[in-house]
């Protein structure tokens, strides 16, 4: 087995036990990344020097008999919307240029102080707006299982990198499915934690009340390991909730007597056959393992969640993106004749089409004459959605549902009909609206499905707030039955 194929747990114990060095691991992962990235374009920035230096420091600590931490020498990748001190952070947008933040996101501080080593910053949809990783100013990322197809998005670079074996763990952010959908498309595990469990400080905001950072991994254990480090109250993020102690140890026997729900309203919706088959197969697995399969009803979610989601996300986004004006950092317009021309030049040249459309939508939806009808109405419906989920979880411990209705499309296909992308978000967006944890798990690869045969098929578990550890326990049990995904061969 090559070092890049190891799980984060195995790398950390190998480095701590001096079986191999952090530098060896880094170099192997780096050459794997370099070998694949010509095809995948999963990384915007590869942090060769900084990463190797950090690996060297880990090795130094090990040789001095110190413990570098639970992620000793584990190479990781961050989505490029997480600030890294002194390392270019772009949010995949031209508007930020070569901006190198003067500070690091809390999640990166936590990972690096646990011994993790940065290998690179991952490609993404510009400002996390999209579900294909094709709106990036740096060009699209490809799906490692079929490089003609999208890896999903917006955290497609992180997902593709983990699936292809660049690193065992990467971080993504999920505003409306941006971790869970690419995890499903790339055939790995991805957790969108409960809103408020992981600090957003240093995450370049899209929809602040929806955004949440979470891990991608090829084993449930690695996702849990990352969460053990990331789930921590951060006084710099006022929406980070203090006093939450969640057990991420992956306990056995999670399926017995577990009440797993199917959503009544989702029944009639069309799914690609491999996804529908996976739903049936996993439902049966639950029953065989002693879980109780029940049904819950989410009418408001099914009917209104998507429209309300876009109203809220766009409204928050247009304020979050107002700061890119060329005055302080990022792209500037030195030749501009005046203030207005500077704003116009920086923003029309700096932002891509998808970002502009959402800024315009947010601007319109919050106009004083329309705000009550759209933005304010959407925030009220949001309360109803959260309440509907809360009631559903009185009779269920978690919900089993698809991540997307279909398997990944070809790169470029989704762009033609923007609303198709929006519809495909139905299984992911409501989870962010209610601030719930959602976990994507790999179930296998599509069989007998024409040109999509062999693509990975993922499903999603959704639980009540703070049930993140429990979702991973269920995922851990399913991993034992279904097996963990292999690294995509490229």
């Amino acid at each position: 087995m090559r070092l890049y194929e190891l799980s984060a747990r195995d790398i950390a114990s190998g480095v701590r036990g001096k079986k191999f060095s952090a530098t060896e691991v880094f170099d192997e992962c780096l050459s794997r990344a370099v070998a694949c990235d010509g095809k995948l374009a999963a990384l915007i920035t590869t942090t060769v020097e900084a990463g190797r230096a950090a690996a060297g420091r880990i090795d130094g600590r090990v040789s001095r008999g110190e413990d570098p931490g639970p992620l000793a020498g584990v190479p990781v990748i961050l989505k490029d919307n997480m600030c890294t001190h002194g390392i270019r952070t772009t949010a995949a947008s031209r508007v930020l240029g070569d901006w190198a933040p003067p500070y690091s996101a809390t999640v990166w501080e936590l990972l690096s102080s646990a011994g993790a080593v940065l290998l690179g910053k991952a490609n993404m949809d510009e400002f996390a707006m999209g579900n294909t990783t094709s709106t990036s100013a740096f060009g699209p990322t490809a799906n490692p299982w079929d490089v003609s197809r999208v890896p999903g998005g917006s955290s497609g670079g992180s997902a593709a990198a983990v699936a292809a074996g660049y690193t065992p763990v990467a971080l993504g952010s999920d505003t409306g499915g941006s971790i869970r959908q690419p995890a499903s498309y790339c055939g790995i595990y991805g957790l969108k934690p409960t809103y408020g469990l992981v600090s957003r400080y240093g995450l370049i905001a899209y929809g602040s009340s929806l955004d949440q950072i979470g891990p991608f991994a090829r084993t449930v254990g690695d996702a849990a390991l990352a969460m053990q480090i990331l789930a921590r109250h951060d006084p710099r993020d006022s929406t980070s909730v203090p006093g939450k102690k969640i057990d991420f140890t992956c306990r056995e026997g999670a399926l017995k007597k577990k009440r797993v729900a199917l959503v009544r309203e989702f029944r009639g919706f069309t799914l690609d056959a491999p996804i529908a088959d996976a739903m049936k197969r996993v439902t049966r697995l639950f029953e065989e393992a002693g879980a109780e399969v029940v049904e819950v009803s989410l009418p408001t979610v099914a009917r209104y969640a998507v429209a309300c989601y876009y109203a809220i996300a766009a409204s928050e986004a247009h304020t979050n993106l107002a700061r890119y004006d060329g005055v302080r950092y990022g792209r500037a317009a030195p030749g501009a004749a005046g203030l207005k021309e500077m704003y116009e030049t920086v923003r029309s040249e700096g932002f891509g089409v998808e970002v502009k459309s959402r800024i315009i939508a947010g601007t319109c939806l919050t106009e004083p004459v329309r705000s009550e009808e759209y933005y304010v109405a959407a925030t009220r419906v949001r309360t109803l959605i959260a309440e509907e989920f809360r009631r559903a979880f009185e009779s269920a411990d978690c919900i089993l549902q698809p991540v997307t209705p279909s398997l990944p499309e070809k790169i470029g296909e989704m762009d033609e009909d923007a609303t198709k992308g929006y519809e495909s978000d139905l299984y992911t967006l409501p989870v962010n609206m209610a601030g719930l944890p959602g976990f994507t798990f790999w179930t296998g690869r599509a069989e007998n499905f024409g040109e999509k045969t062999g693509l990975p098929v993922g499903l999603q578990l959704v639980g009540p707030r703070w049930s993140d550890g429990e979702l991973l326990n269920v995922g851990f049990a399913l991993e034992k039955i279904l097996g963990a995904p292999k690294i995509a061969s490229l």
Binding site: N81, A91, P102, I204, S238, R328, E367
Partner: protein, 489 residues
Amino acid sequence: MSDKLTFTPVIGIEIHIQLKTKSKIFCSCSADYTNDEPNSHICPVCMGLPGSMPVLNRAVVRQGMLAGMALNCKVQPTTLFFRKSYYYPDLPKNYQITQSDLPIAADGWLEIKDDAGKPKTIRINRLHLEEDVGKLHHSTSDGRLEGAETSWVDYNRSGLPLAEIVSEPDVSSSREAVEFVTMLRRRVRYSGASDVDLEKGMMRFDANVSVKCSDGRWGRRVEVKNMNSFRALEHAIEYEIKRQSEILAEGGEVLQETRHWNDAKGVTSGTRVKEFYRKFIVEPDLPPLVVSPEWVEEVRATLPEMPADKASRYVKEMGLTETDAAVLTDSLDVARYFEACVAAGANPVRAGNWVRTEVLRAVNEKHVDADALAVKPESLAELILRVEDGKLSTTLARQVFDAMLEGLSLEEAVKKSGAVEGGMGGSALGDLVRATLAANPDVVEEIRSGKDAKGKKVKFLQGLVMREAKGQARPDEVASAIEESLKPE
């Protein structure tokens, strides 16, 4: 025709006050940047860097509550912050975080006197918390953005805590406006919520002015911005009332607009910027602010007695005049000094006289608060008691006070002034009187011969003795000593 019409002004005032805290409202940058280099008090949060997030400074909430209480507002148990969107280079995120319509304090009032001298209540709609913006510097002669070759932004002020106080349109004249903001400023300063130093820009005014014509026509509401002093507020309102009245008198229409007060020229001018809406969404990075009743009460307990209450107590319980009481209560440090002096045993009227003359003079000369003076109120009380007991004359006591201001103790100061303990009396005084009489035999002769029916000559001698005694002798003792010496032997 126009001179038959009358115009009634309707004025609402918005006051921005910089709250007194060690750090900014959403980050830990120091709020005191006076004389520091531009952009030396900034961090990712107050620069609005991508990924940064605000954390509400609880000291700002406390100061906001205090200021609200000083203005008779009710503290609101649950409030919210919003993002108010507009583009300007001094606003790092291109939105301002503000409480706006869900303020920390609401429904207050202040009582002033109207132009006829009758009591009048000015209602206060709310006091809300928000962040300040940076400062722009333009390379134009008039400092305006228009036509500037180069502009610079200093973000040291960005994120300073502000309270915006919004009055109801209850003000009817520029004089009322000035009285209202003067009283408001005094009360806020009393509360300790702000230093409200106008020269340092800690208090800024906007006024919403409209006039109603006696023929029933209304002018539209005009918002006048950029007043940084009481005088500017007064003149801007007067200018605007006159401008609008003239337009209405000529049958014209007053446009609803925002006008800019030009202090140098003494005029308001249209901003030439189209009136644009400022959009609001809930600030998703800050959870609702919940203020517990316990916290409110804890803060309320620290709110000092307000100046008007103090003044009426001084009049009722201490026998001071209203004028003296007003002077003594103008600022809290002086009022506290006075009260400490009385508490230490000084007669209130005498103490009042001392504080509003000698103490205030020292405070103004030394540019310090009264509590920072070297003369502690207890020492002043002791000094006043000695004058009352006749141990020191008033003149000498002033010299002692001045010496104490330089750091001497009461005893040291008395010694330095040359005063003898207990003053000049007994044989020393007798000797001085005899010497004075001997030096003025003709005056003595005139008195003895009964030519001093009006007592003028005796007073003259008394004055000579007093001068020689350098303030150490008591006038009544001098008088009786002269009388004694003039008796035929």
